[in-house]
Amino acid sequence: MRRFLVCAILSFLTISVDKQSSYLNPIRSVISVVVSPVHYFVDFQVATISFAGDYFEQKKTLIESAKSLRTQNLKLSAKAQRYSALERENARLRTLLGSPVIVDEKIILARILAIETNSGFKQVVINKGAKTGAYVGQALLDVSGVLGQIRSTSAYASNVLLITDPSHALPVEVNRTGLRAVAVGSETSNVLSLRYVPVDAELKVGDLIISSGLGRKFPGGYPVGKIIRFAKTPGEPFAEVTVEPSADLSRSREVLLVSSDASGEN
């Protein structure tokens, strides 16, 4: 009983310190050295099983997926050609204005480990840590949009808090109108809600939401999601806006870590 009291008091202390601050992160990264190999071991097993599944996949589906990938590749490269022209034009206009912008950001390729974390946070574990250039607060993207930010790092792995976590807030803007807002995650479902949007805002369902780059954690201009619901309650000062994230939060495996220090002018 006495031992339990000691442990309980210690636990309460660590919980309250860890919820409020990051003082315990050194302890966390020391213990991670022991614990990360288990993460990698589980991921390896799951990867082996899914590799076996892929191996026995039918030839037909393989051909189909190759075809669709080829068309997608063609479309993307066409877009990329236009992008490089636009980039040059933009840079030229910027020099005319006298405000240089850095478009290319430093990007690290990472992979989400196939493990489940039962922690009360919506988070994933990726295979890049402090030794490979990841740092706390770094933004994470997948091919279709913003995914989250790094919450804690150890030497060879990091925990990423997803944008749909209720404790996560992301500065965004509406692509069509330039209206700025804050996208906050939700407790129960995998959607975001925009906070502090005035009721008279000109929005409609289907509008693209992009990251604004304000706050300097996330680089600006990346897609965050699409508006799926826009409701005004009489008497309320702000509208209720629900956004479905464009990044595939449950499925994507290959992700990009983007350094925000080169995000250019906001």
Partner: protein, 171 residues
């Protein structure tokens, strides 16, 4: 550090025991992290808590509250959760297990499972309250699912670990 030596280096003969315990915990950690389909998510058994409960009930001299606390800290880092929540939960389980150790062992199997169900229900609700205080306990009935699957698995885990300890000669 004191708690470590208390558990592991008491006698020369407990060397195998420490290795065996570490191996079981390793497997439990792995099972806890394996991705499940989303409909099974709220039925995931608390593997680590089950293994800790087994060792504390059967070997309270070897595996006590302090070691459970340390295991909990490791589990917290493993889950990426708040440091201390699992430590608190597991030391609570260990406390109950040491208190009821002798009585629990003479219970019939069914009653053991019921005991495990109640204890784990408290443990899971406890954890969900620390993790997010303002979400309703009954959202999705997930605590009942987790406690129930743990209680159903208890018989099998106990049987399996009994067999293993007999083979590895833990005592």
């Amino acid at each position: 550090m004191d708690s470590f030596s208390y558990g592991f280096d008491k006698k020369g003969s407990s060397r195998i025991g420490a290795g065996f315990i570490l191996f079981c915990l390793f497997v439990a950690f792995m099972l806890a992290a394996i991705p499940l389909p989303s409909w099974m998510e709220s039925w995931r058994p608390c593997w680590v808590a089950l293994v800790v409960f087994y060792f504390v009930v059967n070997y309270p001299q070897k595996y006590g509250v302090f070691l459970s606390f340390v295991t909990g800290i490791f589990l917290d880092v493993f889950n990426g959760g708040t440091l201390g929540e699992q430590a608190l939960g597991l030391s609570m389980i260990a406390m109950v297990a040491t208190t009821y150790s002798k009585r629990f062992k003479i219970y019939p199997r069914l009653q053991q499972s019921f005991f495990v169900f109640l204890l784990f229900l408290v443990y899971v609700i406890f954890l969900s309250k620390i993790q997010n205080f303002d979400v309703s306990i009954l959202a999705g009935f997930s605590p009942i699912g987790e406690a129930l699957s743990s209680a159903v698995l208890w018989t099998w885990v106990a049987f399996f670990l009994d067999e293993m300890t007999r083979r590895f000669n833990l005592r």
